[in-house]
């Protein structure tokens, strides 16, 4: 009503609130609870097909049975990745986002009651996407970004956020390096320019190269949080 409108007053209010504040709050609670239980949580992110599920399959062979691991799989559709992990004898829960291109902390929070307290490692395989997942803290201790040889060595500069917010970069599928024009040294150098604190590792699930070193990095990180707890 125009009549009504004339009686309205306009008022400006300052807010200054983070759009990701509610996600961050849930993520901090998750991290606190899992860390207190001595569980190391790892958020794996990469473009579709960089080899996240295959890497988890290979890691399970090294980490178990000495360590107990479980996997949360994020996908837009299907239980396929969770089924692959279960076939290795590892507990896995699938989150199907039904279109959403990333996982959010509240989705992890919902699964919380199912997570066994005696785990050593909780891996979260994010939805295959190098952009969107980078904005959402899931309560992980370690964010690990994968970049596979077929994707090209220019990705750190093109998708900086995933690399800036990660603790660890895994250059995967290194068995393909001899046949593709991927310059591993250049990728490492450029990744360090945008994030000097990145831990750099290279793996090939095909040949097995580097998987043990990656497992050792996770084991050291687990020991670190348990020392801090003690």
């Amino acid at each position: 009503m125009p009549h009504n409108k004339t009686k309205m007053k306009t008022k400006e209010v300052m807010v200054l609130e983070d759009l990701l504040g509610s996600n961050k709050k849930i993520a901090d609670q998750i991290r606190k609870k899992l860390t207190a239980k001595g569980i190391l949580t790892i958020n794996l992110l990469s473009s579709p097909g960089s080899g996240k599920t295959t890497l988890l399959e290979s890691l399970s062979e090294i980490l178990t049975p000495e360590y107990k691991m479980a996997v949360i799989e994020g996908d837009i559709e299907t239980e396929r990745d969770a089924d692959r992990i279960r076939a290795k004898g590892i507990p896995a829960w699938q989150i199907t986002t039904g279109g959403a291109c990333h996982l959010e902390a509240k989705m992890i929070g919902k699964l919380f009651p199912k997570i066994p307290a005696d785990l050593d490692f909780l891996f979260i395989e994010n939805v295959g996407n190098l952009v969107c997942p980078a904005s959402f803290d899931l309560g992980e201790n370690i964010r690990c970004v994968l970049l596979s040889i077929p994707e090209g060595d220019d990705k750190p500069k093109k998708y900086p956020k995933a690399f800036i917010t990660s603790h660890c970069l895994v250059i995967s599928k290194t068995d393909l390096a001899p046949v593709l024009p991927f310059n591993i040294e250049k990728a490492k150098k450029e990744a360090l320019e945008i994030n000097p604190n990145l831990k750099l590792l290279t793996t090939s699930a095909q040949s097995g190269a580097g998987i043990k070193e990656l497992a050792e990095y996770f084991i050291e990180s687990l020991q670190k949080i348990r020392r801090t707890n003690a």
């Binding site: 209010v13 983070d18 320019e193």
Partner: protein
Amino acid sequence: MHELSLIANLFEIMEEKAAEKNAKKITHVVLQVGKLAGVVPELLITAFDMYKKDTIASEGNLEIKEVPLKILCRDCKTEVVKDDFVFICAKCGSSNLKTLAGMELYLEKMELEVD
């Protein structure tokens, strides 16, 4: 396209604040978006316009203030605004840097209509 879920979060905050102030309408919304926020401003506006239908902000518009990436070198204390993402001090070569601005994704302020 995570812009849509960010806009859903935005509306949650907007509606809460508008209710606190007994607002009838939200006519203007200002967001601070850092250069490293990892979002596309145009997509935020598209998502906002899709989302606002049948809400208190149905006639509102979204303004985006882009915040440049600003870093401080902890070693030589130089402060620089960067247009690239090279986290190395151009003056002394140090990588001991602190991000001062550029990660924001904030609802800065809004304009309301109240009785």
